[in-house]
Assembly symmetry: D2
Homo-oligomer: 123 residues x 4
């Protein structure tokens, strides 16, 4: 067993990328949404993530087909944002390391998977 | 003691107005915000409330002075939406009754008070 | 059109009952839960609602069958609290009026309906 | 510039630790709490974090002094959980790597800092 207390730029970037995905997921899931308001909700989520430390890019996509399906079937013609509707890519840069992470619904697992897609070193 | 199980249009409108304020408050408190993104967050909250049943109008104001103060003092130049920054007016119409409700920070109580401001009858 | 700015004890109780349901729904939806932790989550929700002004009783039931179904099918053996799992009864008393309200999933509408079940007058 | 698409066990553990802290923070901030209910809320948060993938330990502490101060000054004798009240340590183990992370309020920064405290290798 080895214990390390020094944290590298890369460690920090990975950790911060996780924070951003965990935070946005639990902040916005449940928000009322419709096909008409989805665009503005995407922008609001992008803005809120962009403000956080070390975020260099973020792209949010809400699945219009799923929103349409839910709102059509709902008695009041809207739905709540669900994990299965969300696809978010976030890029965190800490010093010379950039982590590209993403949360996207995995149909087969029926689960919103968060994962690191790539790590870029600017050295 | 008298028990009434029949609910009038007015009862329903009052109840629904409460739902809207309770919901938006707990959905959006904690969202990262800055003076630059406040306008779009206001719109996103307005949209999400408007979608809900029987809402006929909604106006959201985020106190820019408070956001500015928090973001200036914060190490990362943004802040989280707090109850004391929010002023929301929502109008719920159910049949011929309209309830105007509001959540607004009360400085003296240091509390975000939700209250019914007026009831309008269209009969 | 008649405008009324005076709010009765009954108006207030109805409005407050709505606030409680809207708030708890958007606060707790999304919380990770399993059949093993459901009991304690029910208690935590009951506690948090009980603290709020004019709440005289609250009972939370999380549908174990639905939790079991989701956790069994999930790749990581837990699920997130969803509206369809929640049945909450809350009693709000304001002066001499008591409102009994409830949020419960309606299978046919596929919607978590919030409604006033009865109003009790202690006069 | 070097791009790496292979993610190590350590990368994954760091990322997952971030997810857990980001998620719990945005899930539970805003929950009504008092000195009487703090213990049970701590347990509920611990349970919900424990359920998530690769969490091997979690300890939640809600600062009773701050809760007491807020509830005493509040008109309704309770308060909402705020970042400054929370101290959470979470341990994530992925394969042979363990990440110890923590969110704790930093008085001087007036900010809830999330950080990796140590990394343990079981090889």
């Amino acid at each position: 067993m080895t214990v390390k207390e020094e944290i590298s730029a890369k460690d920090k970037a990975l950790f911060e990328a996780g924070i951003k995905l965990g935070a946005l997921y639990h902040q916005f899931i449940g928000t009322p949404v419709s096909t008409e308001t989805a665009k503005e909700l995407e922008t609001a989520i992008e803005n809120s993530v962009s403000l956080q430390p070390w975020v260099s890019a973020v792209k949010v996509e809400i699945d219009r087909e799923k929103v349409r399906k839910w709102e059509t079937e709902s008695p009041f013609k809207y739905c709540e944002l669900r994990g299965e509707m969300l696809d978010v890519e976030v890029v965190v840069r800490y010093e010379d390391v950039e982590v590209h992470a993403r949360v996207k619904y995995d149909e087969q697992m029926d689960y919103s998977l968060m994962r690191v897609e790539k790590i870029v070193y600017y050295t």
